[in-house]
Amino acid sequence: MGMAFHVNSLFLYALAIGVVLFVLTQSAFFLVRAYRRGKELGMETGKLKKTIVSTAVFTIAPAVSILIGVVTLSKFLGIPLPWIRMSVIGAITYELPAATSTANALGISLSETISDPRTYSAIAWVMTLGILPSIILPPILMKKIQGGMVKIKTKDGRWGDLFLTSMFLGMISAFLGMVFADVRRGIAGWVPIFVLLVSAAIMGVCGLLIKKCNMKWLETYALAVSMVGAMIFAVLITPLIQ
């Protein structure tokens, strides 16, 4: 006989805290190493610090959206499991379908909190096994991929730079294209495009201020400012359009 089960039990919270501590330690380890290496390479301390501050500020809004993912899943799975899944490898785009798929397989509804530990463990296994390749493959493929990149760069440095820039642009293009997916739904489907344009416009203004008015400090916050500005715009415009 096992212990009495509850989706928000102390035991599950303890597991979650263990995972969180692991992630924090690993991140801190890499942060400190990279910072020290940057100084060894003669990079300015200011530049390294700016990277940290700028990223930290920019991360807050997306982190809150991940928190919303935890809240969404918590009605069904309790807090600890979604918290664990969103702290390691997870993404709401993956976790929700994984939980839904298992719930369907077991013939249970997603609207009630799980009370059967075997259902819970089945979902935990699907969520875990589903994302396993993303964590197992990097160490296996790293040498091959990085070796390939070194080959490209040593053969033709200019093409090596273009190669990496193009990869990033390919990624950005996929997301920019996605914004147009709802256009055929009428004016409400244009909201994401307006949001995109507002974000782009704010970023443009930030760029001008940085260059023309010498507001160098703004560089650190430009992406965060344009993102949050565009999100506020979305809140204002959506009720008007619907």
């Binding site: 690993q26 991140s27 935890v70 397989a105 090596g160 999100m231 809140v235």
Partner: protein
Amino acid sequence: MSQYMKDTDKYGKIWIWTAVVAVLMVPVAVCLYYNAWPQAGAVLKGLLGVAPIYWTVGVIEVITYTPMLGTGGTYLAFVTGNLTSLKAPSALNAMENADVKPGTEEGEVISTLAIATCSIVTTLVLVLGVCGLTLIAPILNSPVLVPAFDNILPALFGGLAVVYVSKNWKLAISPLIFMVLLFLAVPSLAGSVGVLVPVGVLIALAAARIMYKKGWV
């Protein structure tokens, strides 16, 4: 390869394999503690619904993002997750602002700093959020805020695109046109944007190669 890069690979591997064990221990611990091993059939059926897509995406993501994020960044980003929507854009923005190139050791340093900071801040926001969930859940769930978070990706990529696309518009134009037309033609693809990132990358690379050979870039 410098000693730093060699060590990064060594430590990265140690951390990531430890993470594999830690991640697997979560369901094992649940099963042992509650003496609740699930039916294999239920797990298999559940996996069947997601694994074919997610395993494919997993393979593609590793191949696509590793060159962009660098060794340390990759080892960290794949453990902490939220790659496309957070880690990759933040690394790109940081390298752009610091004026360093991906694939160089300076790029490696900045990318790792950005991804580590991103992971720490995300984890801390989740900790704070979970602690105060009863207080903030009503705010987060309020209908007023729904559009803000529904539109977080356009809000993020709009700003990012201005900088990156305007600097490299010749390289950007082919994948951009392709993607816009694709999503206009097949709107339902929006749910599988992760799969389309490598498609965009391949198109961008092919177009870049042609333009490079012709001397246009």
